[in-house]
Structure formats: structure tokens, C-alpha cells
Amino acid sequence: MKAHLKVASGFAAGRSHLHRQRSCEDYAISYRARTQKFACAVLADGAGSKSKSAHGAMVACATAARLLENNGTNILNDPSAAGVSLLHTIQTELRRVADEQGEPYEEYGSTLLFAAIYRQKTTWNAFLGQLGDGVVICRDHCSCRPVFQATNGEFINETVFTTCVHAHRHIQTLLFSGSGSVGFLLASDGVTPSLIDRSTGVTSNACAAIFSWVKKHRQSVINSAIQCNLEGVFRENTFDDVSLAMASYL
């Protein structure tokens, strides 16, 4: 069977923002190259108290996706430096946007999660990253597990954002390779409690359900399903904004 890369993503305003008639501050994008040699999912959750964080989240996602696609060789050669370099480029872009709009740079802060798959003939390399809260879940060999520990503060309403001075100390990255099927699911902190048991780190059945769609359905169908479940299921489990992004190799 010919191997495929599939990606999907979605985001929706949470009940708290809907109640206050505010827009969603989560943003998520997914992209698959026509060559089927590269795919990525990127997700950013805008800082709650920052006026431009929704815009900042969008800039962070777009910048990260572009870099992940264009800098594949450098990333694979030096993955630990690549994470900091990616963050630095996002910060530079956020500063440019802030200057252009005459707003303080800190207003554009967001978290950042990403998963990029670089496919060779029969093998793949995956580059994953996380800054701040949320979760990156990996599925391989029929099991799901969270990849990183979230870099939260002590309290639920504290985390690290792209605009933080010491963000480069907190970005976590991981590069690994394989040849079998693999999938990565990124979730903002609004969705995380629906996917992970906090006390044990065990993933819920919802993760397996989402990954099961990859085998059975077209990418466009998965995309619609993610958006539909964010609005109809995940949103009911939290007050926060909700977002998901997925990249898989099958």
C-alpha cells in the first residue's frame, strides 16, 4: 500500500469567550506538501490577557509552518538548535508586526506546539516542539502517549509564551525517525483535559478515536470532523478556547 501523509486542524472560541463576545485566541494550521514529502501541524494558544494574542498566535503558526518546510535540512542536522532558531524567527516576526501596528510586542504572546514529518522513500523523520501548555500526543505501535511535559508554572493560569524573555530556555524539541505508521496530535490546554488524565498521563479514548479516522477517511473529512467535535464536544468540557491539529504518516 502506498504511504500517505494526512493533516487536519481546527479551532473554536470557548464558552468563556463566546459569553463575553470575544473572538477565539487559539489558532491551528496544518499543511501537506503536494510532493507528499512534508507535512506539519502547528498550534498556538494566545495569552489570555493580551489584546493582540489572537493575531500573535496566527503569526506564530504561519511563521513556524513556513520555517519547518523550508529548513528541513538544517532541522534534521541540528534539531536542538533548530527549536531555538525557530522561536527566534517567530519573535522577530512578532516584533515586526507589533511595530507595524504600533502595539507593544508583549501583546502578541502565545504558546506554540508543532509537529513536522519529513518523509523519505520508506522512512520518516519527525520534528516536534512545545513551548508553554497544551500537549503533543504521539501514536505509534498502536499506543498513544504525551511527548513533552507542559512547561507550566505552579498555577493553572500561568505558562510560558513566545514573547517571554526566557522563552528560549523553555522550548522543548524532539527529533525521531521510523518507518511504520505514526501520528501526532496537538491540543491546546482547553482540549488537553479531554485527552489526558492529569494524574497518570494516560491518554483518553478520544485520542485513539481521532487517530482511527486517518485510516478510514479522507483528509477533508477528518478536517471537518475535528472542527465539528471542537464545537460540539470538546467545547462543552471547558470554558477555554479549543484547538486541535494533527499530522500523520500511514
Partner: protein
């Protein structure tokens, strides 16, 4: 979407506990709260007495939180009563499990107002509760201490705890609300313990109004999201307090 397998079932979602807001009420139950000048009250007050109004206020607080669909699961309230000594009269627990509100009694056996002893006990209880949250994998917001007192400290214990309080408040690890009751309280002493929020004086015995405001503040905090500042309802404060 036509396929039913594309709808995630509610039972397939993780079931994590609601993030908690631990709140410790530190309440002055010294004899002066009886409203009797012979027991140290600055002004005679008999209908209701300060302690009766305080009990009504605490009951109102619990009732208001019970009526809030989120706060009732998020808020955990402990109560410390103090005079010359301090004792916990209610331990932290989810309000959804509390059937009746604890009643405060005037402490006639131990006169005095040992503010520092009470605040030390509050910090100890908050630290213990946070450790329990961490052990159980329960997320939590910054803890709150709400102090209500009508007197001037009768010992220096509050000076010993001042640095610890300041450190926690300045590093945003604690939200502290010092409230003075009546004319006998020295707001400067309370404000000295609170580096970023001056002590307020309760207007008369408006405990109900204060606790109504407090429950709304808890509700807003329990629904806040990471990075979000939850400003105090300043207009609401005008309904019960003054500088």
C-alpha cells in the same frame, strides 16, 4: 459528516477534576466581635451583633458559590477563627460536598487578637492543600486569604510573618484581601501586610455585600484562562468597602 465514528462520545473524553481555587477565610472571633463594649467593642452594636452579621455573611458566601455552576466545583473554602489563638473550624473541601455552613462563635476563653498566629495557620493550611493537589494531579489557581478583623493586634506575631506574606504576594503566589471591620481596627497595620492592595474598611456590617462580591470574584477567577488577568470588580467594592 455522515459517519457516526466521526463523532467523539462524551464517555471517551478524559475526566479530570475542575481546577481549584483554594480560599482561606481568616475571621476574627475575639470578644469585641460580640458588639459589647464591655468585651472590647469600639461601639455598642446589638442588632445584629458583628458576629451574627459575619455568620450571615459566611452563609451567604457559601450559598452564592453553591448557586454558581462552576464555582461550586472550583472553590474550596477553609475557615480559621482567631482571637488570642487560632483554630481551623472548617478544612478545605469542595463546596459541592458541604451540606451546612460552619457557625462562628465568640472565643471567650482567649482574649486578644493574634493576627500573625492566624495568618501563619492559614499559610500552613494552604501549603498542605497545594501539596495534596499536586499529589492528586489537580490543577489549581493562586490561593486566596481573606482576613476580616475588628481589632488591633495584641502581639507581634504579624511582624514575624510579614516577610513571608510579602514574598508570596509579590511573586503572585498568593492573593490577600485584608478587610477591617468597625472603627477599632487599624487599617495601617493590615495594609502593611499587603504590599499591592491596601486594606479596606467594611461599611458598617455589610458582610453580606462583601461576601456576595467575593463569590463573584471567585466565580470570575474559576473561569479565567492561562495568561488572563482577572481584575477586581472595583465598582462592586463601593457597595461594601472604603479605604
Amino acid at each position: 459528516m455522515s459517519s457516526t465514528d466521526l463523532i467523539i462520545r462524551k464517555e471517551d473524553l478524559g475526566t479530570n477534576p475542575t481546577s481549584r481555587v483554594p480560599i482561606c477565610l481568616v475571621l476574627d472571633c475575639s470578644p469585641s466581635m460580640s458588639g459589647n463594649p464591655e468585651w472590647g467593642a469600639a461601639v455598642a452594636q446589638s442588632n445584629p451583633t458583628p458576629i451574627e452579621a459575619l455568620n450571615d455573611g459566611v452563609e451567604h458566601f457559601f450559598r452564592s458559590l453553591h448557586e454558581d455552576i462552576v464555582a461550586v466545583h472550583a472553590a474550596e473554602v477553609a475557615i480559621i477563627a482567631f482571637s488570642g489563638i487560632a483554630q481551623g473550624i472548617a478544612d478545605f473541601q469542595s463546596l459541592s460536598r458541604v451540606d451546612s455552613t460552619p457557625r462562628l462563635m465568640i472565643e471567650t476563653n482567649h482574649g486578644g487578637t493574634s493576627l500573625g498566629t492566624a495568618l501563619s495557620l492559614a499559610l500552613k493550611k494552604l501549603d498542605e492543600r497545594k501539596a495534596e493537589y499536586q499529589e492528586a494531579g489537580v490543577d489549581y489557581f493562586q490561593p486566596w486569604i481573606v482576613l476580616l478583623t475588628d481589632g488591633i493586634p495584641t502581639d507581634d506575631t504579624h511582624l514575624a510573618i510579614r516577610a513571608d506574606l510579602h514574598k508570596r504576594i509579590n511573586s503572585r503566589r498568593l492573593s490577600f484581601f485584608p478587610i477591617g471591620v468597625g472603627q477599632g481596627v487599624d487599617l495601617r497595620v493590615l495594609s502593611d501586610l499587603s504590599p499591592n492592595r491596601p486594606a479596606l474598611r467594611l461599611q458598617g456590617l455589610k458582610f453580606n455585600e462583601f461576601f456576595e462580591w467575593l463569590s463573584r470574584s471567585v466565580s470570575r477567577t474559576s473561569q479565567s484562562i492561562p495568561g488572563e488577568e482577572v481584575p477586581l470588580d472595583q465598582d462592586g467594592i463601593k457597595g461594601w468597602g472604603s479605604l
